[in-house]
C-alpha cells in the first residue's frame, strides 16, 4: 500500500513522509500534529481510531484522505478501501460450499470498517445458508497478531474437544492470521481433520 502511495506521489513531484502509529492512538495524534505543524500538502490516514478520522479540525487544516480503514458508522469524507464485506462473504461461501457448517471468524475491532464489514460478510453468508451464528465462534477485538493467536487457541479449545467436528476458521487480517498459524492444531496428526492442519 505504501509503495502505491509513494510511486504515485513521486510521479506527481511529491515526497512521502511515512508515520507508523502501530495501533496506538496517542502515537497517531502525535504524528498528525507533527505533520500539520510542518504544513504538509495533504495527509493519507489509515486510522487507528474512528474519532481521529472524524475529526474535522484536521480536514479544515489540510486535505485528508482515508485509506484501508474508515469508521464503521457515519463516516463522511474521502476514502479508498477494500470491499471487505464482499471478500468475507466469498470466503465464508467457499467454506460452506466445501461442506463446513461450524465456521468461526476472527476479526478486528468492530468500530473500524475492516473488522465490522468482514463480520457482516460472514454473517450474511451464514444466514443465507441457514447456519447458526454462535457467539463463541465470533472473535473480535484487535488487529494485533497476538490476538489472532489467542482467539485461535480459544476456538480450538472450545470446538474440537466438545463437538469433535472439523473447524474451518476465517482469520481476517494478516497479523491475526499469522498469529493463528503460529501453533499446531491438536488434530494435526494427519488426515484432513482440523482447520489448522500442519501450521
Amino acid at each position: 500500500m505504501v509503495r502505491g502511495v509513494q510511486e504515485t506521489a513521486r510521479s506527481a513531484g511529491h515526497s512521502l513522509i511515512l508515520c507508523n502509529s502501530n495501533e496506538d492512538v496517542e502515537e497517531e495524534r502525535r504524528h498528525l500534529r507533527m505533520l500539520l505543524s510542518r504544513r504538509v500538502d495533504g495527509v493519507l490516514l489509515a486510522c487507528t481510531e474512528p474519532l481521529t478520522a472524524m475529526d474535522r479540525s484536521i480536514r479544515e487544516r489540510c486535505p485528508l484522505g482515508l485509506v484501508d480503514r474508515i469508521p464503521a458508522q457515519g463516516f463522511k469524507g474521502e476514502a479508498v478501501v477494500a470491499d471487505n464485506a464482499g471478500a468475507a462473504y466469498d470466503a465464508t461461501r467457499h467454506l460452506i460450499g466445501l461442506g463446513h457448517e461450524l465456521i468461526a471468524i476472527i476479526t478486528g475491532r468492530l468500530v473500524l470498517s475492516p473488522g465490522y464489514e468482514r463480520a457482516e460478510g460472514y454473517r450474511k453468508a451464514m444466514q443465507e445458508a441457514h447456519l447458526p451464528l454462535r457467539g463463541e465462534y465470533f472473535k473480535h477485538g484487535s488487529f494485533r497478531w497476538e490476538m489472532g493467536y489467542r482467539y485461535a487457541l480459544e476456538l480450538l479449545g472450545e470446538v474440537t474437544p466438545l463437538h469433535g467436528h472439523p473447524l474451518r476458521k476465517l482469520c481476517y487480517d494478516r497479523r491475526l492470521a499469522e498469529g493463528a498459524r503460529g501453533f499446531k492444531s491438536p488434530m494435526s496428526r494427519g488426515g484432513q481433520c482440523g482447520g489448522l492442519r500442519r501450521f
Binding site: G65, A82, R118, G164, R168, R198
Partner: protein
C-alpha cells in the same frame, strides 16, 4: 483456514500466503491499488480544489478484494470416528 493477505501484490504476483505449506487460501487485498488510488485522489484534491470546501470531496471508493483458493481449505473429514481423541 482463510486469511486476508495484504502482502499480495497484483503487480508482481507475489503473495505471502503462497509461501506457506500448505499454501493458504486467502483474500488478496488490493493493497497496492488502494495506496495508488488514495494518493491519486488526494493529489487531485491538492491540485484542483484548494478553494472548494471539504464537503465536495466526500467519496468512498471500494476496491474488489479477491479470494484466492489454494491448499489450506478442503471438505470436512468424512470419517469422524477415525479422528484420534
Amino acid at each position: 483456514m482463510v486469511g486476508f493477505d495484504d502482502f499480495e501484490t497484483g503487480v508482481e504476483g507475489f503473495s505471502l500466503a503462497s509461501l506457506f505449506r500448505p499454501k493458504l487460501t486467502a483474500v488478496a487485498q488490493p493493497s497496492y491499488e488502494m495506496g495508488k488510488k488514495a494518493a491519486e485522489r488526494l493529489l487531485e484534491i491538492i491540485f484542483h480544489s484548494q478553494s472548494a470546501s471539504a464537503e465536495t470531496n466526500e467519496r468512498v471508493i471500494s476496491l474488489k478484494a479477491e479470494l484466492r483458493i489454494r491448499e489450506s481449505t478442503a471438505p470436512p473429514c468424512l470419517v469422524r470416528s477415525a479422528v484420534p481423541s
